[in-house]
């Protein structure tokens, strides 16, 4: 915002421009959207409908038109999530665990032993990483078991803890049965060698039944917060995470199984990528101001990288039928895309919580739209409209 604007604005607020009240930046300033670098502490009590000035030359690429809002020294209304990137990693590993359990179950049912074995083991590894990062992110890691003292449907984290525990037991058991071929052929352990595969199938299928809940509850976990850009997209987010989980599981399959066995994984990669990219598109385009954090800065870069990687993965899935290398590269790209997706969504939400714009503007619009007598703006608005009419 230029000094000129500031002066003009101050007049609009009804205060004579020549009166400098003090060097201290006052609160209650309206700050223009999309102008954070030059955010100046404004006296103005303008009407929130700033008109284009200076011949109407405006940057058409700006998605959301300038508006103004009031804030307390530009400080965030919300507390930004205290979660670290551990949680973004967990989103990925949890999704990978779910996706690979599903692929492993499919492989089991269709008789693809390498795919089955490697994805069960992938699932186990992802599970271990998930648990590690979840506990590491706690402020009091030694108290992680306090999660298990209640089961609370209003807390997605509580639901997720139970889902993860159930899934962990089943998928872990399925993975352990892959050790059966290592057992001797005779004796008591030999009996285990015969029984274990059936037990592995049973628990693997049960794990696959729980897997979708593991992959999608994290979307509810994020959406069920006051973080503006997470909550706003609660309809798309479960699909985005579901698609991302499928794509990562399929990617692991393309990476870790021979091309003949990986055919279903390649098909699943296309399905997962389609779901993820569609949901991501709606996330980035469909929510006006609250989509903005997903398109700007680091979250924007991450989500663009995610799209590029996922498309590379799709190409690998299409062309991977003949070449193990192409298939593996495609799989790796899908995994990378899934990681970037999770980090992008994570950081986009954090950015939306840190900037009061994303909290105040939508809520103010809601209040103004309701126009209820209780919340009616005080009489200052009439003055502001008069003066902006003169200026405009």
């Amino acid at each position: 915002m230029s000094a000129d604007d500031a002066g003009e604005h101050r007049r609009a607020g009804g205060a004579p421009a020549e009166h400098q009240v003090g060097a201290t930046p006052p609160g209650g300033g309206r700050v223009p959207h999309g102008d954070q670098a030059a955010r100046s502490w404004e006296f103005g009590r303008g009407d929130g409908r700033r008109k284009p000035r200076g011949g109407g030359k405006r940057d058409e690429s700006v998605m959301v038109p300038d508006a103004e809002f009031q804030s307390y020294y530009g400080r965030a209304v919300l507390k930004a999530p205290v979660w670290t990137h551990d949680i973004a990693i967990y989103l990925f590993t949890g999704g990978l665990a779910a996706g690979s359990a599903l692929v492993a179950a499919g492989a089991d049912l269709t008789g693809a032993p390498t795919l089955r074995r490697n994805l069960r083991l992938t699932c186990l590894g992802a599970l271990g990483a998930s648990t590690f990062f979840l506990i590491k992110d706690l402020g009091r890691p030694e108290r992680f078991h306090h999660m298990l003292r209640v089961a609370k449907p209003t807390s997605p984290m509580s639901v997720g803890t139970w889902v993860l525990s159930a899934f962990g037991g089943l998928a872990g058991a399925a993975a352990v049965t892959e050790a059966a071929p290592l057992l001797p052929r005779t004796g008591l352990l030999g009996l285990g060698r015969k029984v274990l595969p059936a037990a592995g199938s049973a628990s693997g299928l049960a794990a696959a039944a729980v897997a979708p809940a593991l992959a999608t509850y994290t979307a509810v976990l994020f959406a069920d917060t006051a973080v503006p850009s997470w909550h706003e997209v609660y309809r798309e987010l479960p699909f985005m995470f579901a698609g991302s989980a499928l794509a990562s599981g399929a990617g692991a399959g393309m990476l870790l199984a021979p091309v003949t066995e990986a055919a279903p994984a390649r098909r699943l990669a296309l399905i997962g990528a389609a779901v993820e990219l569609t949901a991501a598109h709606r996330l980035e385009e469909g929510h006006g101001l609250l989509s903005e954090p997903y398109t700007q800065g680091r979250p924007g870069k991450l989500l663009r990288a995610a799209r590029a990687l996922t498309l590379v993965g799709v190409a690998g899935a299409v062309a991977g039928g003949r070449s193990r290398i192409v298939s593996a590269l495609g799989g790796a790209a899908l995994l990378g895309g899934s990681i970037a997706t999770r980090f992008g969504v994570f950081e986009g939400g954090v950015a939306s919580a840190k900037d009061p714009k994303y909290t105040v503007v939508p809520q103010r619009e809601r209040v103004d739209a309701r126009g209820s007598a209780k919340e009616k703006r005080h009489s200052g608005i009439a003055v502001d409209e008069d003066s902006s009419a003169r200026e405009g």
Binding site: K79, A215, T225, A263, R377
Partner: protein, 358 residues
Amino acid sequence: MVSENSLFGPLDPAPDAGYEDAPPRVGFFTDTSVCIGCKACEVACKEWNAVPDDGLNLLGFSYDNTGGLGADSWRAVHFIEQPYGVGNKSAPFASTPTGPSGTGPAFDVTAAGVRALPEQDRLGTGVETSHEVAEAARQASGAQPQFLGMPGAEPPGRGGGAESRTDFRWLMMSNVCKHCTHAACLDVCPTGSLFRTEFGTVVVQEDICNGCGYCVSACPYGVIDKREDDGRAWKCTLCYDRLGAGMTPACAKSCPTESIQFGELDELRERAQRRLEQLHGAGVSEARLYGNDPEDGVGGDGAFFLLLDDPEVYGLPPDPVVTTRDLPDMWRHAGAASAAMLAGVAVAFVSSFFGRRR
């Protein structure tokens, strides 16, 4: 005791949480129109609750060097300096004078006051170069040297009459946890550490909290926060221990202007309504209540406010909604996405499945 309004809408939270014979719900009514920004509430809260210090900060936000609520600030006084158009809007208070204090005679008085500098030199409180400044001011105003004694403690303009006030006003507000009827922090807490007390307030149990941080992201007011060196979440308890002993919370007890009023919520709501009418009657048309309405997005706050400007000017969200209002719909969408996952896997594997049978 779960009712259809358990997630959203008007509700008496303590019975809903399962208390039988719960005492009446209590809360705070913070009337910012009489707040003088003395921060006695902040101090009393820290002392009583043994809240650790959070550093000595000069933030440059007027007199607010607390910087908002947090794990180590359960009361935080906000200061807003505003130009306030005289003639365009009502005076903050009809009986107080308005007009510039920084022009004309007021300048002369200030300049003359600076002439008490020899006295300052003697006391060692003088500022370098102030002699030159004072002399320039004296010559500019043409005033004769005259000792006026110590600067008065009256607000600017009081001595000079209504015409000598600036079009400037202070807003001060002591912020606090809202003890929401529908408290998102409590809804999402996975350990049961946050709980609803019999008084209808919301309290963290420090021996249960494992620092998962979910409540921090869930609170629509940005109140609760994780204490860095301790890992757990902390916030106002509405002095649960004092309530249990029939005492007033420390902040309300210490507030010298009764800006912070403690009591039964129903009674506070009536009192606030009367105060609002009184202010409107006195021409303070910008006065409005915030968080008092049981029909609002959080079912009404247990700690609500009388404000003199839009909530966002004070750093409050204009229209907070408890995030768990939409939780059933979120689970429905997650369910649909889960079904889509299973369908996707079925489609991907179906031809292999039948291919194997052949």
